[in-house]
């Protein structure tokens, strides 16, 4: 099909950039007229399709709507976390606090509801806790120039410690309103089950997509990740944006905690240990570069789905023990990172 000049398809095709003998993914991309920026996401999509295909061949009933619907239901909180994480990573930062903030939010929700606070107050308050921790981290990163890694590490310790101060033991949530909200579901086309948390996750994805691609804020996020100094020299609101991405990530973690509380109907201080790693892994597998500036929120969602599918496959396999999940995720990370490296080498 593509017999025209490849100029339109290859980003930044300067003199001599598109080599005629270019091999592998780049050539396929040129032939399919895919923008180079989308390549990692396409890669994620291919992996997702492959896992689905493998599962479909190996097990009956794997390629059913129910499995896919459950994928969203079981991973809704991780999707929300990964979406927030994408913002931070796009600016070249990292947020290690999300797992602990998720736990803090879930524990606070359970504690407040247990104390008799009305659900209508608890829901926004709990999300606000995440926003406030995100704001504090953002201020540490921006005003005091603490490295994001350390600032969010402090945030992680802080939130995890607070969890145990609030409640060392698991608190069940029995409030009728909350359980009703958590248990509500609807069937799309009679087959696709959607719960409250899935709808919340979808709304979060929608808002994030709009923010990143259709607002000045989103363009500033990409600009900071590309080069913070250039962004500042261009007069973009770097300070505000840098603080805001941590607020967004914190808010997402707070919301994630709420979804987790709905999912588990309880709040426990040890939930979400190492969940920040899952979120980071999902973002990386989704094609976002950890150096910032390149990536898509939908890629991160695909990344979460890949992680969830690996889990599902291992459950279906039955004989494989749970630790294979970690090894597979590690191998997948390796493949993606090396792939990204190869792509970026070819670009320069």
């Amino acid at each position: 099909m593509a017999t025209t000049t490849p100029q339109h398809t290859v980003e930044g095709s300067g003199p001599g950039a598109p080599r005629p003998g270019g091999s592998g993914p780049a050539r396929i991309a040129r032939r399919l007229r895919i923008d180079r920026r989308y390549l990692p996401v396409v890669g994620t999509f291919v992996v997702l399709a492959l896992i689905l295909a493998i599962g479909g061949v190996r097990y009956d009933n794997f390629l059913s709507v129910g499995v896919l619907a459950n994928l969203f239901i079981n991973n809704s909180f991780l999707i929300v976390l990964a979406v927030g994480m994408t913002f931070v990573i796009l600016t070249g930062g990292i947020d290690l606090s999300v797992g602990a903030v998720l736990a803090l939010s879930a524990v606070s929700a359970a504690y407040l509801i247990d104390a008799g606070v009305p659900v209508a107050v608890v829901l926004p308050a709990v999300v606000l806790i995440g926003s406030i921790i995100g704001l504090l981290i953002g201020l540490m990163v921006h005003v005091f120039e603490v490295q994001p890694f350390i600032a969010t590490l402090a945030g992680m310790f802080f939130a995890r410690g607070l969890c145990f101060v609030i409640a060392p033991e698991s608190i069940p949530i029995t409030d009728e309103t909350f359980v009703a909200i958590a248990g509500w579901d609807t069937w799309i086309a009679g087959q696709w089950r959607m719960t409250t948390s899935v709808i919340v996750a979808l709304v979060v994805i929608g808002i994030a997509f709009y923010l990143l691609h259709f607002t000045q804020f989103g363009r500033t996020v990409y600009a900071i990740g590309g080069s913070e100094q250039s962004a500042r020299l261009m007069g973009l609101p770097v300070a505000r944006t840098k603080v805001l991405v941590y607020v967004i990530s914190g808010t997402c973690a707070g919301l994630g905690g709420l979804l987790f509380a709905m999912y588990s109907r309880s709040g426990y201080s040890l939930t979400g240990v190492a969940m920040e790693l899952d979120a980071i892994a999902a973002v990386v597998i989704g094609g976002t570069l950890l150096t910032g500036g390149t990536g898509f929120v939908l890629g991160s969602v695909l990344g979460v789905l890949v992680l969830g599918l690996i889990q599902t496959i291992i459950t279906y396999e039955g004989t494989l023990s749970s630790w294979w999940t970690k090894i597979f995720i590690g191998v997948l990370l390796l493949v993606f990172v090396v792939l990204q490296r190869v792509l970026s080498l070819r670009k320069t």
């Binding site: 201080s269 950890l290 023990s321 970690k326 590690g330 990370l333 390796l334």
Partner: protein
């Protein structure tokens, strides 16, 4: 705290006091002393050391022994961070070392034999060295960012450790192996002797030879150092390999302490504690200049803090909260903005010399 190595004082200021407060280690040491003083106020015999059965006992000895694994991990981490890297996989390597050595001893025909233990230690350290070399390969040859390259092993490593222990918590009884973590040599804890011995060797090698300077050169500007003839690739590779090896040693000490290989919880969050210790010690995550004495102070702060929380009777689960407060305090005091403010105030005072003399 004897700053044996790496102490780089600034050019002598007008007063000794200013020189002291401007030293990078001033605030960390103040934090450590404050912790020790607070402990002594809470329990007056905190700093006393007694002799029981020919061994030294007391809280300071506990701190020395408990700090051993973290010191080893932080040592490797300092070198890695000095080259602009970071090693997130140390916790997983700690778990693998424990899992491998204990599984080997458990399946060996004679778990109590010294030869079995030596082989187990050699196998575990060998694998950890290989894992370190793997990290170094990804970073220096393939050119992946250190944070991701080691994230891979961090994620997969615990899976590997569980694979080795087959998901069980392996417990063994082997007297020679137990010596490593719980035994005493010359009245001092064996674990502490090993860790501080390794620390001294690394400090001597990096500071009495050009190696330390070369590591800093790579961290400050990799391409410039390469053009100047420094083998940047080899150095990066070496520090990651060393980090793996030291983490393995730490894993052996931790495993021998409890004599059980818990693939899920062994060395959990030790990478964060190590990075914290390094940063508290004044080594920037941006690479370049590193301070091994700073790392030692950082390790002692974290270990003392953990012990304090236990002694005071607060649930150890709340420890993260206190860690967060220490991190926030130290990093804020070290942040450029606060330092500028403090420096500006010092200059104002210097303008009125009669006040400085006071």
């Amino acid at each position: 705290m004897p700053a044996t190595t790496g102490s780089r004082t600034r050019p002598a200021g007008p007063t000794g006091l200013r020189n002291l407060t401007h030293h990078t280690l001033f605030w960390p040491v103040v934090a450590l002393v404050a912790l020790l003083v607070a402990n002594t106020i809470f329990s007056p015999d905190f700093l006393s050391v007694s002799i029981l059965d020919g061994h030294l006992f007391g809280a300071p000895i506990d701190i020395l022994r408990n700090s051993a694994p973290l010191l080893l991990v932080s040592l490797g981490m300092t070198l890695v961070i000095a080259t602009r890297g970071i090693d997130l996989s140390v916790g997983a390597v700690v778990a693998i070392a424990g899992a491998l050595s204990l599984s080997f001893i458990a399946t060996a025909p004679d778990p109590g034999a010294v030869s079995t233990v030596i082989i187990a230690i050699a196998i575990a350290l060998g694998l950890c060295l290989v894992l370190g070399i793997w990290n170094g390969f990804l970073v220096s040859v393939v050119g992946i960012q250190p944070i991701i390259a080691t994230l891979i092993l961090m994620t997969a490593g615990r899976g590997v450790a569980m694979l080795i222990t087959e998901g069980q918590i392996t417990t063994v009884t082997s007297a020679p192996f137990k010596t490593l973590g719980a035994g005493f040599w010359l009245g001092l804890p064996a674990a502490a002797l090993i860790a501080y011995g390794v620390y001294l060797i690394v400090a001597l090698i990096t500071r009495r030879s050009a190696l330390g300077m070369l590591v800093e050169a790579v961290g400050i500007n990799p391409s410039a150092s390469r053009l100047a003839g420094v083998r940047a690739r080899t150095i990066v590779w070496t520090v990651f390999a060393l980090s793996g090896l030291f983490s393995g040693l730490a894993g052996l000490i931790l495993a021998s302490n409890v004599m059980a290989a818990d693939a899920n919880n062994a060395g959990l969050f030790i990478e964060l504690d190590a990075i914290l210790a390094v940063v508290i010690g004044g080594t920037s995550l941006q690479g370049g200049k590193f301070s091994l004495s700073g790392t030692l102070v950082g390790v002692l702060i974290i270990t003392t803090l953990t012990l304090t929380v236990t002694i005071v009777g607060i649930s150890p689960l709340v420890t993260p909260l206190f860690k967060a407060l220490v991190v926030i305090a130290v990093t804020l005091l070290q942040s450029p903005r606060v330092r500028d403010k403090l420096a500006a105030r010092a200059r104002q005072r210097a303008a009125r010399p009669e006040e400085v003399a006071a």
